[in-house]
Symmetry: C2
Subunit: 461 residues, 2 copies
């Protein structure tokens, strides 16, 4: 029996223990965006470090101005490549809580009508479950060979869901320690339940929060209605004006650096058998809402967009209150492609907001995060090796896809560590990440772990 076969056997045999370890991590409520959960983030980092030490990693919790990083090292054979594996241990908030069938931090395995099994709970898919696939692969290699086929650095962030404010300073301060031959990032999806995928293009993001300030206090709409500026009205006009009738974003210069998708890429995508009606039907919709004349895949993979992620103003409780509020605010995110510059997009948005304001009103802004789009060359040798390893595991060719979401760390690794990334993930599109009842397929977890064991071996060749 080869080493790899022994390692895969070990993964199969110890699956229940692997699940238990993941569940212990999932029970920690590491919501990074809400300061109330800071101690839980710390706890998650400490939990992971303690676990990694049992596998033989030299692991440590590294404090930052925000939530801590986890960094761990394990040597590999002489001349073996050095890989950095990235994941994040923080999770999204859980609201609306009432839509969860079970408490979000009490993970469980649920058998589905089709016989498949799902791990359910916040962070199962994004990203604790994915992160642990690599850790469990390392554990199996160690238990069967007392070594790893490649030199491994693990780098786990605790602020991915809240804009990664500490990431760049940390990369700058620890450049030598972190720089490896390639980063392996496990925060993406498969093409479908049977087909593995490597993501070679990721949209970037610029996000901003705007608050419109009108009167100096909340007003009675009977006394002041129509004469006093209403910030909800102003904000509505601002948001309504951000797209034209064809679904294009109206900001000055927004499409600078947006490339047309090459025909050969469109053809490859056409060959994937993607169903627009199934994609939209699964979420209760039927009409593509984006730019006219673009396919849904193009809309979500290759076109930039402006989305409104939250809005609030005035009285929002039960019943009615005839108030004209003093303020109203919205959270807005722009998905970027090509060479669109996040700072320029944010500046154009702010200029646009200012141009919409009556002279006696004002706007304030709170910047959240920004990262350019990322494009990875299809012909990178590591992609070839990983593709072969994934085919051994899944029995199907790997889909080279784009991603609508942003994984800013990939751009950061390129910019600050001059390190390429390879994005291999085992999540499914319907994992309800960021939503109630988030899940991760047990198959994703099990075969994902086996996939990493294979990829590590393949990269060593």
């Amino acid at each position: 029996m080869s080493n790899l076969d022994a390692v895969l056997g070990s993964i199969d045999k110890n699956l229940d223990d692997s699940i238990e370890r993941l569940f212990d991590l999932l029970r920690i409520e590491s919501i990074s965006t809400d300061p109330a959960y800071a101690s839980e983030c710390q706890k998650a980092a400490e939990f992971i470090v303690a676990d990694l030490k049992t596998i033989g990693f030299e692991a440590s919790v590294r404090e930052t101005a925000g939530h801590p990083m986890v960094v761990a090292h394990h040597d590999g054979p002489k001349d073996a490549p050095h890989v950095l594996f990235y994941g994040h241990y923080d999770v999204q908030p859980c609201d609306p809580l009432e839509l969860w069938d079970e408490p979000p931090f009490e993970p469980r395995v649920k058998e589905m009508p089709d016989g498949s099994e799902q791990m359910i709970g916040r962070g199962t898919s994004d990203d604790k479950g994915q992160l642990m696939t690599f850790v469990e692969a390392c554990r199996a290699w160690k238990s069967e060979t007392d070594s790893l086929p490649v030199k491994v650095t693990l780098f786990f962030e605790g602020e991915e869901e809240s804009g990664s404010p500490s990431l760049i300073p940390f990369l700058e301060a620890n450049k030598d320690e972190l720089t490896s031959d390639i980063a392996l990032v496990c925060d993406t999806t498969m093409w479908d339940r049977e087909t593995p995928a490597i993501s070679t293009a990721l949209r970037g993001m610029a996000s901003d929060e705007v608050t419109i300030h009108a009167a100096s206090r909340d007003l009675h709409s009977g006394f002041f209605g129509s004469a006093a500026a209403n910030p909800i009205k102003i904000l509505s006009k601002i948001l309504a004006g951000l797209h034209d009738d064809d679904g294009r974003v109206t900001l000055d210069g927004f499409y600078d650096g947006v490339p047309e998708t090459p025909d050969e890429i469109k053809e490859m995508w056409d060959g994937l058998g993607f169903s627009e009606s199934a994609f939209l039907g699964d979420i209760g919709l039927s009409i593509p809402a984006g730019e006219k004349g673009r396919s849904v895949l193009e809309q979500v993979w290759a076109r930039p967009t402006a989305e409104f992620n939250g809005i609030i103003g005035g009285y929002t409780g039960e019943g009615f209150k005839t108030v004209i509020p003093a303020i109203a605010s919205a959270k807005i995110s722009f998905r970027l492609v090509g060479t669109q510059d996040p700072d320029k997009v944010r500046d154009a948005f702010r200029d646009y907001v200012q141009s919409c304001l009556p002279a006696d009103c004002s706007a304030s802004f709170e910047e959240h995060s920004g990262s350019p789009a990322v494009h990875i060359p299809y012909d990178m040798p590591e992609i070839q090796k990983a593709t072969a390893a994934l085919k051994d595991e899944w029995g199907k060719d790997t889909a080279l896809i784009a991603m609508g979401g942003s994984i800013p760390v990939v751009g950061r690794f390129a910019e600050y560590l001059d390190m390429p990334s390879m994005l291999v993930g085992f999540a499914q599109e319907d994992d309800r990440i960021h939503s109630p009842n988030e899940k991760y397929e047990l198959t994703s977890f099990h075969k994902g772990t086996r996939s990493w064991a294979r990829i590590m071996a393949a990269l060593a060749e």
Copy 2:
């Protein structure tokens, strides 16, 4: 000393006791719109009934399907007119709580830099303080003459701030008991701190709550952004389209029944010395936001409007969440004038919303309240008598004004009891009703009580 002089003296002498009684009522948290405070509404009604019995009223708490009514009767001299005095014991919610300098239900008297005194707390002005001016006037008449100069029915509602759902059924069921020669309604403002006012026109209202439903669950904006309909975007377009560039409401037929203000009324208003810049400057604004080509007084007194009172959708907590929400909703109120029909306006709004929806999205509505505008003839004899009484108290001619706010009960009295109303109030425009730090001038309370004592005498003549 005349009876009236003795009564006025009694009011002056017992002012501190009057304040204490009002404060006991203000401490009851009778927020009608929030079901959590139902028992407090009951408590307020019972408190008032117990107090009225000490003055010799035949008083009772009258249950309804919602919060109870208070009804009380006291006989007057043979052939004296029969007046019904209306007020409401319920109050608005207190959010945002953090903007209150002191807890809203711990009333206090605060001395201001100019030497005046303010009673501060939720309900001081709207409407518990106003309601008690009449009760205290009755108490003084009783203590000095053991009688009242007119026959009095008191009628206090507990649902005025939440759309008065029980009002019409109660008026219908108790028509004979409640119908009087005239209703006195104390829920309006003075012209300024020195000038009493009687309101002869009140805007009506139609209010509605709309919820836009898009996807069947919250979505990750990376996966679905631009391809999936965003309900915040749809709602923004709906709200933004409700006014044209001249500030006019765009609904079909909205201006049916809206009269042009007669020149003589405009001239009377011009004579009031109203300062647009002071009115707006007091709330931190400077530019009239309503219909172009209309004065601020016309905008708030004589023109209809659409106001957005609340909006919510998506993630509104701290930090950022790249979500496309499943729903977004807004609370909207239309102020009406002339013979605008609240039901027709609401229907036109709903038709408009439906016309804005993509075919795969839907809207649901929750109706809140509706009442037509009210116009009272200037030459009603009771207005002449009250005007003279008010001049005796304040030393200035009474301003006959319009009101931007809605007092639906006035229309209900006319429609269901065939009873005219006279609106005399002692609130000030800057009382911050419906807002944090609501106040009522001690002078409003004291001289308001004296004014009612005088008006009762005048009506008896």
